[in-house]
């Protein structure tokens, strides 16, 4: 079991780099399987329910890329001269959008896994006093994903109650109220942090964070994966140059497989707080 949040953070950073640096579909499929394996023991955690948002996010770039890009030699069909969407729709554009979509899906999955395993208390505790504003942002970002979704749903329902359009097509009209709601919540949260003395001096720790040998192993594996991605990675996949992905190098495969280390001991997080709803 991973005990220290730093190990999860390093794993998360390495996972995000792997998702975005080389978007070879073969590697992406492998990475999706790895992240699913790491997340599987935590599937009952409420944070893991966000996968639907990840899927929705993944579809958007496919649609945009396919509808707007007119490059590529492998034509699916050709539309007449309709503004914006008219012209030849290509498999290259679909593949490019899909690789971006999978990267977004992986981002949501990695953050969901982090949210299921890292308490905002521990993240805040990790940061030195000089970075207290950064700590506030960290704590806010962890707390706000679920609150933002709840606010969005409340606004959708409010539109319905007022007899206005409430489907996804109404989303643009919700952006400003959603932003305002989030800003108000962020201000209240910031006030609460201030009112409770956050950033006033040296912080101590009620429950000091402990290290295990396995934490060190996960950090080593994640850092190695990161270095392999950054230093040894071959030419990234570009469907417009070659639609068929090249076979990944052994280094790329290794860098992805190393990210599976947390799954070797995938026990859900044990807190002193248990959920007894």
């Amino acid at each position: 079991m991973i005990r220290h949040p730093l190990a999860w953070c390093v794993w998360g950073i390495a996972g995000l780099c792997a998702a975005f640096i080389d978007r070879n579909p073969l590697l992406q499929v492998l990475l999706v399987l790895v992240v699913i394996n790491v997340g599987l023991p935590h599937r009952r955690n409420p944070a893991m329910r966000h996968w639907k948002i990840g899927l929705a996010l993944a579809v958007v770039p496919i649609l945009f890329s396919a509808a707007l890009s007119r490059f590529g030699r492998h034509v699916i069909f050709t539309l007449p001269g309709i503004p914006i969407v008219g012209g030849a729709w290509s498999w290259e554009a679909v593949a490019y959008g899909a690789s971006t979509g999978v990267a977004l899906l992986l981002t949501v999955a990695v953050f969901a896994t982090l949210q299921a395993n890292v308490r905002s208390a521990d993240l805040v505790a990790l940061l030195p006093r000089s970075l207290y504003r950064t700590g506030t942002v960290f704590a806010l970002s962890l707390a706000f994903a679920p609150k933002t979704i709840a606010s969005f749903q409340a606004l959708l329902e409010a539109r319905r109650l007022r007899g206005q359009r409430a489907g996804w097509r109404s989303a643009p009209g919700l952006v400003v109220p959603l932003l305002l709601t989030m800003l108000e919540q962020a201000l209240q949260y910031g006030e609460s942090l201030d009112a409770r003395g956050y950033g006033s001096g040296r912080r101590s720790h009620y429950r000091p964070l402990g290290w295990s040998l396995f934490d060190g192993f996960v950090i080593w594996a994640s850092l190695t994966s990161l270095i392999l991605d950054l230093v040894l990675s071959p030419q990234p996949y570009n469907p417009y140059l070659d639609l068929a992905p090249s076979l990944p190098s052994a280094a790329s495969l290794l860098s992805i497989l190393l990210l599976a280390t947390p799954a070797l001991r995938g026990t859900p997080r044990m807190d002193h707080a248990t959920n007894r709803a």
């Binding site: 905002s120 006030e191 201030d194």
Partner: protein
């Protein structure tokens, strides 16, 4: 030397036309308990936020005068430096929580003070005992009820050993029993620790007997008075004070204990039962309606008939299924079991009225509404809706959504409202009922329900277990009885109906 001193405090929010606080000079001595009351939007929250420096450090705006807390000037010292001296409990506990679980939340403030683990542990254990939350210490905050959350919020503030505790309407979200629990905690702190306390509260009947001074704020101006003098003048006051003023009792009793001896001369008669209600045509019929969430059943076998002209109060503890029932009737949830039939336009106003307001001005929000709905909002028309106070936003949301409905479903409409606005809401609902609309209102406000409704439903565990006129349902209940009923019994609910 006063613990808290305000000298000529004037404050205006950025871009506001007038001041929110206008020349406030007062002081709080150590150990005093202050009740802060005033109409919605009068400046209560602003004044409380001055005490720990959130105003002006967090809000900006023009600040003049001086607030000193334990000798520290809030203009010089930041809120995070004052956090150890002033424990602040926000109106919405959810806005206050930083972490996921109770014990970590209690420790958060202590960690910020840099205390040793041993000291932290001792303080946390003591605080848990003082506030009585030992059963909650290992729970996740997301799983707590409203009352439990508010008690944890108080404990989190208390653990820092502040010199004073400031509470901004801590019971506004709670059912009567949970509110009672929270106020008992506050009163225990006052009695056992001599904790200096400033509390803004609309439900004054519980707290009034224990306060040393009452601060009444209106349009940013503050009156600092002795309790009896303040309640005699008006504003939010216990129903027993209204009765005492009618009966000419002197000194005015502030609580039931003081009033009992004097009341013995009153309760001879038994009130007449009002004529049977329910002559209007049926507007909604529920037949064995049921709904369950994945974790629990919310509504079970509810059969009801709602008629035009009825104002029905739906009461019950937090989590009893009131909101789910309203949402089922309002159509935002689909019944899983049973049948529901309704006629005419149904409008549902949820608890969080803010979500309903998304236009740039009140005028834009009310566009298309008839003149009689717009008329009460003339003074606010150019304002940005979210700049209104909580009570004002609630009124606007009701007008926007429910102005022309045949069946109005309101979820906690009196939350954060002052007595004058509550009275106006009562008039509005009665007017709508008289014109043929029906109302089903989930509320925790027993006094308001007794004054407004002509039918009361009590819910528990998803089931309706009592249904009848207020005089029957709200009488002789340990939890859902009005203060006058607790004093006189025999079916009397309100001070104005008791024969003197």
């Amino acid at each position: 030397m006063p613990l808290i001193a305000l000298e000529g405090v004037r404050y205006r929010y950025p871009e506001a036309d007038g001041p929110a606080l206008d020349g406030i000079t007062t002081a709080v001595e150590p150990g005093q308990v202050i009740l802060l009351r005033g109409p919605s939007g009068s400046g209560k929250s602003t004044l409380l936020r001055c005490l720990n420096g959130l105003v002006p450090h967090s809000t900006g705006g023009d600040f003049a005068g001086r607030v000193t807390v334990c000798g520290l000037d809030t203009r010089v010292h930041l809120p995070r430096e004052l956090g150890a001296r002033i424990g602040f409990v926000f109106q919405h506990p959810d806005a206050q929580f930083v972490l996921e679980d109770v014990e970590a939340e209690l420790a958060f403030g202590l960690e910020n003070l840099g205390l040793d683990r041993g000291v932290m542990r001792k303080r946390i254990e003591e605080t848990i005992d003082q506030v009585g939350i030992n059963a909650l210490r290992h729970r996740r905050i997301a799983t707590l009820s409203g009352g439990e959350r508010q008690r944890v919020a108080i404990a989190a503030a208390l653990a820092m050993h502040p010199a004073a505790l400031v509470l901004d309407e801590p019971t506004s979200q709670l059912d009567p029993q949970a509110a009672e629990d929270v106020l008992q905690v506050v009163l225990r702190l006052v009695a056992d620790l001599g904790m200096t306390t400033v509390i803004a509260e609309h439900r004054v009947e519980r707290i009034a007997p224990f306060v040393d001074r009452i601060w009444t704020i209106d349009a940013g101006r503050l009156q600092d008075q002795a309790p009896r003098e303040a309640v005699a003048e008006g504003g939010a006051r216990p129903p027993v004070v209204d009765l005492a003023l009618r009966a000419g009792w002197s000194p005015i009793p502030l609580g039931l204990r003081d009033a009992r001896v004097r009341a013995q001369s009153l309760a001879a008669a038994i009130p007449d039962n009002p004529p049977a209600d329910g002559a209007g045509t049926v507007i909604a019929r529920l037949d064995r309606l049921g709904y369950s969430y994945p974790s629990a059943r919310a509504v079970e076998d509810v059969s009801l008939t709602l008629r035009r002209g009825q104002v029905t109060a739906l009461m019950g503890r937090n989590g009893s299924g009131k909101t789910t029932l309203l949402r089922l009737i309002g159509g935002t949830l689909r019944p899983q079991r049973g049948r529901l039939h309704s006629e005419g336009r149904v409008a549902y106003v949820p608890q969080d009225a803010d979500a309903l307001l998304f236009a740039a001005t009140v005028r834009d929000e009310l566009r298309g509404q008839p003149e009689d709905v717009i008329a009460p909002f003339q003074a606010w028309l150019p304002r940005y809706p979210r700049d209104l106070s909580a009570g004002e936003r609630q009124q606007l949301a009701i007008a926007v959504v429910a102005g022309q409905a045949d069946l109005l479903l309101l979820d906690e409409p009196t939350r954060g409202l002052d007595p004058v606005v509550k009275k106006a809401l009562t008039s509005f609902l009665r007017l709508r009922a008289a014109s043929g609309a029906a109302m089903l209102i989930a509320t925790h406000d027993v006094e308001w329900a007794a004054r407004t409704a002509n039918r009361v439903l009590l819910m528990a565990d998803g089931e309706v277990y009592a249904d009848g006129p207020p005089r029957t349902v709200l009488s002789d209940s340990l939890v859902f009885a009005t203060q006058i009923n607790k004093l006189l019994g025999r079916g009397w609910l309100l001070p104005e109906e008791v024969p003197i």
